[in-house]
């Protein structure tokens, strides 16, 4: 990396009497998980390249409460939500972008009733808009002709009916998009949602991520494109279990675009 990318916090913006154009909500996975941090960094590089004036909350960011809510702990969820809303409203945040569909869904759909009203955008839609506005260009290059299958995250797809933005981005990479048998509104869950990420699965005859990864491998794709850090983890684990690590990669769409641009 030639130049140092600065990641300003909302606090720094306010100290200069400014408000950021958009707040990048990183989420717990993007902040702490080594694999997901790569997605975060890739996305930041893209924001930087497109000249987006963004800020993060940094140490002031806390869990949106999604896993607590889906686990049934409404009390903890609302505590988290109200603390976050206090911070966000304090910084007069109007627009939020996030690379995590769980954070996206919670911020967009479940915060308004608790006093948090923001325009919330998933990073795939955000990137699509940046390209449409000419702020970001992508050349296929690296991915030209590669077979890519896209796994719909439940909280982006069915939950919020965003199916096209991620697919359009993949097509912009000149890649060959191949669909799995179950896709879009019929897409199969990776197994992480509903707080399952943080518990052992109930007894059964197969793990859900194995079922889904097998389906992705059946397409013969070189790359499994993901748009959610948790799906990414689940599918990566599935690839390991299938011993296909050398052959098939699981990549977030932001990572693919950043890498196509040699960022």
């Amino acid at each position: 990396m030639s130049e140092l990318i600065k990641v300003p916090t909302a606090a720094e913006f306010i100290a200069q009497g400014k408000t950021p154009e958009v707040l990048f909500w990183v989420g717990c996975s993007g902040s702490f998980d080594d694999r997901s941090k790569k997605i975060t960094k890739a996305f930041v590089k893209l924001l930087n390249k497109a000249g987006v004036e963004f800020a993060v909350l940094g140490a002031e960011e806390s869990c949106t409460g999604d896993p607590a809510k889906r686990a049934g702990n409404e009390f903890l969820f609302q505590m988290q939500a109200m603390m976050n809303i206090e911070v966000l409203n304090g910084y007069e945040i109007k627009k939020i972008v996030t690379a995590c569909p769980h954070c996206f869904n919670t911020l967009k759909n479940e915060y308004p009733e608790l006093g948090g009203n923001y325009e919330v955008i998933h990073h795939t839609s955000f990137l699509k808009d940046l390209i449409a506005n000419g702020k970001l260009t992508i050349s296929g290059g690296k991915f030209k002709g590669k077979k890519i299958t896209y796994h719909d995250p439940c909280y982006l797809g069915r939950a919020n009916e965003i199916y096209e933005a991620p697919r359009e981005l993949i097509e912009k990479l000149d890649a060959a998009l191949v669909e799995m048998k179950r896709s879009k509104r019929n897409g199969l869950c990776c197994g992480a949602g509903g707080a399952q990420m943080f518990k052992e699965p109930e007894p059964g005859n197969k793990d859900i991520n194995i079922e889904r990864t097998d389906e992705a491998l059946d397409t013969g794709a070189d790359i499994i494109a993901a748009a959610c850090p948790f799906c990414n983890t689940m599918m990566s684990d599935g690839i390991k279990a299938a011993e296909k690590e050398g052959n098939v990669e699981v990549l977030d769409i932001a990572e693919m675009i950043a890498s196509a641009e040699d960022l």
Binding site: M1, V44, V56, S62, C63, A71, E74, L76, E202
Partner: protein, 447 residues
């Protein structure tokens, strides 16, 4: 003497409709055991949704084979019912094909259409039976469909075969009697109705005497209408209630994004109080709030579910599309969204039968949770919404699963241990993992 058949008919009609009405009132009473929920918003959108999904069957045809077959039976059912109206009037007034003189050519067209539909329904029902009993389709053979649910499904198919066959036999014999100009059937040389299907059935009756034909025609007519009344009353005990309830069920279905889960107002009030620095922890509680029974958080029984959820339970047709798309069920977990709906209805009926017997609800020592739905089922859900998306008539099994999880966690503190650890981490560090919140921006140093 000549009015006796009409009197018998009227009595049967009153008994049939009366018993049905009393059961539907019980059903409504049972649904009202649930919490009230306001779905009076967005009327226009709700009607449009009902027209599209319930009337227009738009989600049924997402599975083209089953969807197409269902549309045939559905259209047949709805349209043939126009004929039932004529049968009822004929029965009450002792007339013969009362609509014919008023509708003329249209009448012939209608009866012809009914006959073709009846034949199509017969064929479709046979295919349905084969799919259900001989093709080993998992959603029709799995555990929860053994016993009554399987028999129920087959009884409905047998009913349809009998009713459609009687309709065609009735028309076939009627056609011959009209052609022969037999008294009571003749209309000055005119033939009422057209018989594109039953004219072929008529071949079997051609050599019979007038008196025999009259007996067969009358028998078919009576058994057909009595059969319809029996079928009407069978509905309440059957998964087949969906032919009525699908409409209100779709109307009241959730309109907001599927990912948006309900906000618990009771919790909001408490959290706000906790976070308010000016709140007086020793203040006397609001006397109005004191009068109310403290509602339990989440759901452990049908009383804690809302009325739309209970309507969902009565509406479920047990088709199993939800379960066949459920990631937990596909991978062998105990959870089946269809079973969640079936068990909710079973429990609701169990509560209802206590009220029928005692005149009011008396605790029977059972609950929906544990006695019907186990925690293992509830904790297997990934909240992926596949079941909600799959349901052709807007049932939301996920909302019941969520309400019951809420009860487990908020009232019983009974989350699985590893999940509890994650929740504790969120509480302490603002992340489900044991990382320090202060380290949230460390990734920026690696850029």
């Amino acid at each position: 003497m000549e009015y006796i058949p009409q009197i018998i008919f009227a009595l049967l009609l009153i008994a049939g409709v009366g018993y049905f009405t009393s059961n539907i009132r019980k059903m409504i009473r049972n649904i009202k055991l649930g919490r009230e929920v306001d779905r009076s918003d967005n009327k226009k959108e709700r009607w449009a949704q009902m027209a599209r999904i319930a009337l227009g069957q738009s989600k049924m045809v997402r599975r083209p084979i089953a969807g197409f077959l269902h549309v045939v039976v559905y259209v047949g059912f709805v349209i043939i019912n126009i004929e039932v109206l004529e049968i009822i009037i004929d029965g009450l007034f002792g007339t013969h094909r009362i609509f014919a003189p008023y509708l003329g050519g249209v009448y012939d067209f209608l009866i012809g259409t009914f006959e073709i539909l009846a034949l199509l329904v017969l064929v479709t029902v046979v295919v349905f039976w084969i799919r259900r009993n001989a093709m080993n389709i998992k959603r029709f053979t799995m555990g929860e469909l053994k016993g009554w649910p399987k028999n129920d499904a087959n009884y409905i198919l047998y009913f349809e075969v009998v009713l459609m066959s009687l309709f065609l036999i009735m028309n076939a014999t009627d056609f011959i009697l009209q052609t022969r100009g037999v008294e009571g059937y003749a209309h000055a040389g005119e033939i009422f109705g057209s018989f594109p299907v039953s004219q072929f059935v008529a071949v079997f009756f051609e050599n019979m005497a007038d008196t025999t034909l009259i007996v067969i025609e009358r028998a078919a007519w009576w058994i057909h209408i009595v059969g319809i009344l029996i079928f009407l009353n069978y509905l309440y005990w059957s998964k087949h209630l969906h032919i009525m309830l699908a409409f209100p069920n779709v109307y009241f279905a959730k309109l907001t994004p599927k990912g948006k889960f309900t906000n618990m107002e009771a919790v909001t009030a408490e959290v706000k109080l906790m976070m308010d620095p000016d709140a007086d922890p020793f203040a006397a509680p609001d006397p109005a709030a004191m009068d109310e029974d403290p509602a339990s958080l989440g759901a452990s029984d049908i009383f804690d579910l809302d009325q739309v959820q209970l309507l969902n339970a009565y509406t479920c047709t047990e088709c199993g599309r939800c379960t066949s798309e459920c990631p937990a069920n596909i991978t062998g977990k105990k959870l089946s969204p269809r079973a969640i709906m079936m068990k909710t209805r079973d429990r609701l009926e169990e509560v209802g039968s206590v009220i029928n017997k005692e005149g009011e609800w008396k605790d029977d020592g059972k609950k929906l949770l544990n006695d019907h739905i186990t925690t293992e089922e509830l904790w297997a859900c990934t909240t992926c919404n596949a079941c909600v998306e799959a349901c052709p008539i807007g049932i939301d099994p996920l909302s019941i699963i969520m309400d019951m999880r809420r009860y487990l966690v908020l009232e019983n503190s009974a989350a699985p241990t590893d999940l509890n650890n994650a929740l504790t981490n969120i509480e302490n560090n603002g992340a489900p993992w044991p990382y320090n919140q202060m380290d949230r921006l460390n990734w920026a140093d690696e850029l």
